[in-house]
């Protein structure tokens, strides 16, 4: 659990790197998840994250909502990356 009351320890894990590089960042439980994702994108120099999916375990997160609204607490690694973009049509 974060040492700060009403905070959560978060890391954003991508195939371009992890933010923060070690450990976690303490952020407010009421903060929208996308704030930390945007910060991670800047720090990791990821130029386009449109449509990326954030997950914790099997849960897909609503990144416009807060950690609290997503029922997250304690220490979490958010897995973040692009979904399958295309393909899949029947081959002949």
């Amino acid at each position: 659990m974060s040492e700060k009351k009403n905070h959560i320890d978060v890391a954003v894990v991508t195939t371009a790197g992890t933010y923060p590089n070690d450990g976690f960042e303490s952020v407010a439980l009421e903060q929208p998840i996308k704030v930390e994702l945007d910060r991670a994108a800047r720090e990791l120099k990821i130029t386009n994250t449109s449509g990326w999916i954030a997950t914790v375990g099997t849960q897909t997160l609503n990144v416009d909502a807060s950690y609290l609204a997503n029922n997250l607490s304690g220490k979490v690694d958010i897995q973040w990356g692009p979904p399958q973009r295309g393909g899949g049509a029947k081959a002949s």
Partner: protein, 147 residues
């Protein structure tokens, strides 16, 4: 790009696949020697998906993907999958003669007769089509479709 440049880029991108990411996602790297990345996706209640990706000619060409049995070695048929617009094609690729992954960013998609007008050059260099971005897409497809 020559093979030295391709290897340097491959090595740099593979280096980003650190322990925290691999353990957090249930990814197991069996081999990461240029041009081959042999990787499994495990967990989340799904059967393992093991892929041998060949990045020869990277990034001028996207990786070729071969589905392996979990133990490696054997070219295996895809298991029955969940319904949906599925990238794991049981039908044989017209030039390779084996099941293939039909997704932009995988060589077999771009060399299939149905997708010759969807060139890799449209995707190359985009974050979603880096080595890691392609793995992300495959992983999400596995989570969605794999039994």
């Amino acid at each position: 790009m020559n093979s030295l440049g391709a290897k340097a880029l491959f090595d740099a991108e593979v280096k980003l696949l650190g322990d925290r990411l691999l353990e957090g996602r249930g990814w197991v790297v069996h081999r990461r020697d240029f041009p081959v990345l042999d990787i499994s996706f495990r967990g989340d209640g799904h059967q393992e998906l093991r892929l041998e990706l060949s990045f020869d000619d990277w990034p001028d060409s996207p990786p070729s993907a071969i589905y392996r049995a979990a133990g490696g070695g054997t070219l295996a048929p895809f298991p029955p999958r969940r319904d949906g617009n599925n990238i794991f094609h049981d039908s044989h690729h017209p030039t390779l003669g084996r099941p293939f992954i039909c997704m932009p960013g995988i060589r077999e998609y771009h060399t299939h007769q149905n997708h010759m007008n969807d060139a890799w050059s449209k995707y190359r260099g985009l974050p979603d089509y880096s080595l890691g971005g392609i793995l992300d897409q495959l992983w999400h497809a596995w989570r969605r479709f794999w039994p």
